[in-house]
């Protein structure tokens, strides 16, 4: 929202110091995003008339202009523009002038003929960001004076405010000026209103058929209007505020809105002399001022000519093209209404048309600003229409939805206990009064009548915020709470950190791919896509599915790196997946995935062992269940009891082929909700067994189809409590072992529990181990 310093200073005696005002605005919560100094006169630039123009035979692209700057001297200037003609008055930068962009105008020649200055465009004068040629000034302009004076361009400062959603009132200068006046302790004058001679009473018929959407509809009747151009100061201010000058009536309407925050519309009262506000009917159309014909919706609010019931404006959004005032207009009906914010917002959204009016109505305007707006309108118009008359007896129709001032109570105690600072009750009252909250105090209770321009203030904390803003956030101290809570990580969070450090220790880099997938991404990696949730309004179609697995994302990252000459990388991610559930929210869980390019089943098993060791967890490896998308011969599920908590192994070579990833890729995927939430009990120490231990080396032959773990389990059971450790130290396939079998050599370290094992005890133990192995399907290797 652009705010002009000059308008603010008309409304209140603010210090003539834009920086101080900017600081104040920031401290009041009206954040200044940008501050622009505009219309700074350029000394040395004067108005001049082009006396004659000549072309030079050898310089096709430039024109020789001979100008008179009012001193009777004819100066010669080369000019590259083409939009000027002999007789035009234009800005001339005389020799020695320093232009706003820093260049100095020097005597420069083309073809040996000197140029004695430069004709200027709006850009060159710092008046605009764009222009199409030399600035042509009014033909009757005085010569030899500053073009800034001729144009009535005021030296001004534009504050570009980043307004928060609650401050509807600051969409007009008046709201900003009110806050600043209170801040600087100066009275608020408001917009200048001339002493107006009111004409005879004149009321027009107004009917409101949509009382919920339209809370107030007022018509002020104005006569003796002559449509023409605006005074220069009006055009200049509008230009600074980003609006184009149209004519004196439209400009007055716009400026009044920018100043008072009251959107208004001027109808030709001879054409539209009565009004009806109603909801549109489906199928009705209206051509708005921007030339677009719009199909109306039954929820659109329409302002109609009361005589014909035909729409003359899409209420709160934009007027009708055919109801614009014309050169012949002499009487005006000025509409200033209050519309319910939501219907206007939806209307604007439906028609993709956010206008200056709709922006204000959807935030909430002041239903009581219409009169001031009408008077200001006539004050501005009188500069170009001296006889203009505002007639009394304006039509004011209000419905039950029209906001009324509300009374809000807050206790001084509550203010102090919420802010944590002592503020004198007189100060509280004076702050609230200074921003228009009519405030009284009785004992501890402060009662404020909230003005209708502040629809955001409805309860005690709203008043507390106003007090805090004007008391100054910087004047409230800094304390810290007396907490009895101790800061710490939860068990799960501490274990997650351990896990992250193990992964880093394993040399693996954390990846953070997008959690959004394209249709088919899951299928590509061999996973089902039937339990996915979709984004209803995705940014792009490739990001419309919420992931149910971390695998597609991390494989994409792996492939990306492989294609950028980083073939040997290991990546991990800890992140959420969102499979559909039968509840409102998905079955969201936290997962771990690790992939290593060039890694194999040993890589992923070693990683899992390290993680299990670090987190004191254990799982069973189940190769009988082949995880989807993994290498059927080199992968297994990880189970805790009957619950599958993950998969380990290698990615299916077919998947890798489809993805274009070269070499093997190891994978480990674990559901962390199970693993991280466990709280392993502290391990209880066993005394060191000091009896000497013995090693039994036993080699067996067993069919390939029987897992080695079966044999290991049998040996473990047979060795019983004497077993210290069991290691598979050799696996052999080849000569001496039949096809389809392999040799498995185990070393069992055994130790007596109460005494050293005797030779015969050892022999007995070996015998039962062998027997158990045979029972498990192995034979002792010769």
């Amino acid at each position: 929202m652009k705010i002009l310093f000059s308008i603010l200073r008309e409304m209140a005696d603010l210090p003539n110091d834009p920086d101080a005002v900017a600081l104040a605005l920031n401290s009041l919560g009206l954040a200044v995003e940008e501050m622009d100094v505009v219309g700074v006169p350029v000394p040395g630039v004067v108005t001049a008339r082009i006396v004659r123009m000549e072309k030079h035979a050898d310089a096709a692209k430039v024109t020789r202009c001979f100008v008179d700057a009012g001193d009777g001297e004819e100066r010669h200037v080369w000019c590259g523009a083409t939009n000027m003609q002999a007789g035009d008055v234009v800005p001339l930068a005389t020799l020695g002038t320093t232009m706003p962009n820093g260049t100095e105008i020097a005597r420069r020649g083309i073809l040996g003929i000197d140029s004695e200055g430069m004709l200027c465009s709006e850009v060159e004068l710092g008046l605009s960001d764009e222009s199409s040629g030399i600035l042509i000034l009014p033909a009757d302009s005085q010569l030899g004076v500053s073009p800034f004076d001729v144009l009535g361009i005021e030296h001004d400062v534009i504050f570009d405010l980043d307004l928060t959603r609650n401050r509807a009132d600051c969409w007009g200068h008046l709201g900003v000026a009110r806050d600043l006046a209170a801040h600087f302790g100066v009275p608020l004058r408001g917009p200048r209103i001339a002493a107006l001679s009111h004409g005879s009473n004149k009321a027009l018929d107004v009917t409101i058929d949509a009382p919920e959407q339209c809370g107030s509809f007022t018509i002020s009747y104005i006569s003796s209007v002559a449509v023409g151009t605006s005074p220069r100061w009006v055009a200049s201010r509008l230009a600074h505020l980003g609006m184009r000058s149209i004519n004196n009536v439209v400009d007055a309407s716009n400026l009044v809105m920018l100043e008072t925050n009251q959107p208004n519309h001027a109808y030709d009262a001879d054409v539209v002399s009565s009004f009806r506000v109603r909801l549109a009917t489906e199928g009705e159309t209206l051509t708005t001022l921007d030339g677009q014909t719009r199909n109306l919706h039954a929820d659109d609010l329409l302002i109609c000519n009361g005589a014909t019931n035909v729409g003359v404006g899409l209420a709160g959004v934009m007027g009708d093209l055919h109801s614009e005032i014309t050169d012949k207009t002499t009487t005006l009906a000025i509409e200033s209404a209050w519309f319910s914010p939501d219907p206007i917002r939806y209307s604007a959204i439906r028609h993709g048309l956010r206008s200056e009016a709709s922006i204000r109505f959807e935030r909430g305007t002041d239903p009581n600003a219409w009169q001031q707006a009408a008077e200001r309108f006539v004050t501005i118009l009188r500069e170009t229409c001296p006889d203009v008359t505002l007639h009394g007896g304006a039509t004011v129709v209000q419905t039950t939805s029209c906001p009324v001032p509300v009374s809000v109570d807050v206790s001084v105690t509550r203010i102090e206990s919420l802010l944590g600072v002592h503020i004198e009750s007189e100060r509280i009252v004076s702050i609230l009064n200074s921003i228009g909250f009519a405030t009284t105090i009785k004992g501890d209770v402060v009662t404020s009548i909230v003005p209708t321009w502040r629809p955001d203030c409805t309860q005690d904390v709203d008043l507390i915020e106003e007090v805090a803003r004007h008391f100054g956030y910087d004047n409230i101290g800094k304390t810290v709470p007396n907490s009895t809570v101790h800061g710490r990580l939860s068990n799960m969070q501490a274990r997650r950190r351990i896990l992250r450090r193990v992964l880093v220790g394993l040399g693996l880099d954390e990846a953070m791919p997008s959690p959004f997938l394209a249709a088919g991404d899951l299928a590509t990696v061999g996973l089902p896509e039937d339990n996915v949730l979709r984004i209803a309004n995705p940014l792009v179609a490739e990001e419309s599915i919420l992931r149910t697995s971390l695998r597609p994302g991390i494989l994409r990252s792996l492939r990306y790196n492989q294609s950028h000459r980083a073939p040997q990388i290991g990546l991990w991610e800890i992140g959420h997946v969102y499979p559909k559930s039968d509840q409102q929210l998905p079955d969201e869980t936290e997962q771990l995935v690790i992939v290593v390019a060039g890694g194999d089943v040993e890589t992923s098993l070693a990683q899992w062992n390290a993680i299990c060791d670090a987190l004191s967890v254990g799982t069973q490896l189940d190769q009988s269940r082949i995880p989807a998308g993994l290498h059927a011969g080199r992968s297994a599920t990880l189970a805790r009891g009957k619950k599958v908590v993950g998969v380990v192994g290698e990615i299916d070579p077919l998947v890798l082929d489809i993805l274009g990833i070269e070499g093997r890729v190891s994978i480990l995927e674990v559901d962390l909700t199970v693993i991280l939430n466990e709280e392993p009990k502290p391990v209880q120490a066993k005394d060191i067994n000091r009896y000497p231990s013995s090693d039994l080396d036993l080699a067996f032959v067993m069919e390939d189809t029987v897992p080695a773990s079966t044999l290991q389990r049998a040996l473990r059971q047979a060795a019983g409590k004497q077993l210290v450790s069991i290691d598979l130290f050799d696996v052999y396939r080849g000569k001496g072992v039949a096809e389809g079998f392999r040799g498995l050599a185990f070393r069992l370290r055994v130790q007596g529990v109460e005494a050293t094992l005797t030779e015969s005890q050892l022999a007995e133990l070996q015998k039962s181990c062998v027997a158990a192995a045979v029972k498990a399907g192995a034979t002792l290797r010769a």
Binding site: A31, S417, L418, Q493, P513
Partner: protein, 345 residues
């Protein structure tokens, strides 16, 4: 020593002197072992002197000679230790010389040049922030990333069709009731979940992933991270909020940094503020939003605003990482490109 001087005295002195010379002259450890075992063995000169001591009649002299024998053996032992160390040192020095390597060559070999993995910069920033807040007495709460409209908006004082909802460009998840499930646009819904689940007093921060319907550019991502803070206790004030932000600023950025609050607006806090951090050079960075928890929000969390008050604050984590490491384009941080990642050890 007595004045008596027997032939044994002379023999012993001679044997000791000879022995010391032999030990000194031994050229290798093996030779030294031979010399010493010859000198101190059962057939060595000292042993033979010792065995002849029985013939000495004077008990005092015999006693004295016995002592001298022990002293001689000790002296030989000391000499042996010294020479032995000299010889072994010499012997190892040649081994050491023969084993000399170029350490720089080994340092560069594939077996040695093994780097640890890297945590994502966002994770690093998140852990640093968590640690600072733990130090300030906060616990850490987490919540789901796919949220209901209730937690993301309604409970945060934004009933359906509240205009402030447009402050967030929301990604909606398809569901039975249109618009009822969203990808959380901020970490604030965790505030409500914590209020509902944790008995007050509450001192918690809530880091996590958030989502906006925003086209990626150098400073924006549709998926990014925030950290939210919530304090609920009896008698919590706006001054407590300002002081907590100040403590955090000094703890996280350093003692030379200060903070300030500026009025702002959020539907879920009132009074609301933006907080800025002042760098050493006097420039300010806008960090995040904060304010006193709105009474409607306390009620939505099941707390009585007359009994409990509190404050909340929140800011972006990604920007912290971006600022800390001077990253120009935030998209690089999410590229998973190891050429980018491996810079940050």
């Amino acid at each position: 020593m007595t004045s008596a001087s027997t032939p044994e005295h002379g023999q012993l002195a001679q044997a000791l002197a000879d022995g010391l010379v032999q030990i000194r002259d031994a050229a290798t450890s093996d030779q030294l072992r031979g010399v010493v075992s010859a000198l101190t063995g059962k057939k060595g000169p000292i042993a033979s002197i010792k065995s002849s001591l029985g013939k000495v009649t004077d008990i005092e002299v015999r006693k004295e000679l016995g002592q001298l024998v022990n002293d001689a053996l000790t002296a030989l032992g000391v000499a042996n230790d010294g020479r032995s160390r000299e010889l072994r040192a010499a012997e190892f020095s040649s081994q050491i010389e023969s084993e000399r390597v170029d350490m720089s060559e080994i340092a560069m070999s594939a077996n040695v040049e093994r780097r640890l993995g890297r945590m994502h910069l966002v994770t690093q920033a998140m852990e640093r922030l968590e640690d600072v807040f733990i130090g300030l007495g906060f616990q850490i709460a987490e919540g789901p990333e796919v949220e209901t409209d209730f937690y993301n908006f309604e409970a945060l004082n934004m009933p359906p069709s509240h205009p402030a909802r447009s402050m967030w460009d929301t990604l909606f998840v398809e569901s039975d009731v249109d618009g009822s499930v969203v990808l959380r646009t901020h970490t604030s819904p965790v505030q409500i979940r914590v209020m509902q689940d944790w008995p007050p007093p509450i001192y918690a921060v809530m880091p996590g992933r958030v989502f906006r319907k925003e086209t990626p550019d150098a400073t924006h991502m549709p998926v990014f991270h925030q950290i939210e803070g919530l304090v609920i206790d009896r008698g919590i004030t706006f001054a407590d909020l300002a002081g907590t932000i100040e403590s955090f600023t000094k703890a996280f950025f350093g003692p030379g940094f200060t903070s300030r609050l500026r009025p702002s607006y959020f539907p879920f806090t009132e009074p609301s503020a933006e907080f800025d951090i002042r760098r050493h050079d006097g420039t300010w960075i806008e960090l995040g939003g904060c304010g006193m928890v709105h009474p409607h929000v306390l009620r939505a969390g099941g707390l009585d605003p007359n009994e409990w008050s509190g404050f909340a604050f929140g800011f972006g984590i990604d920007r912290m990482a971006k600022e800390r490491h001077g990253i120009n384009d935030i998209r690089d941080m999410y590229s998973d490109d190891v050429r980018f990642t491996e810079q940050f050890s």
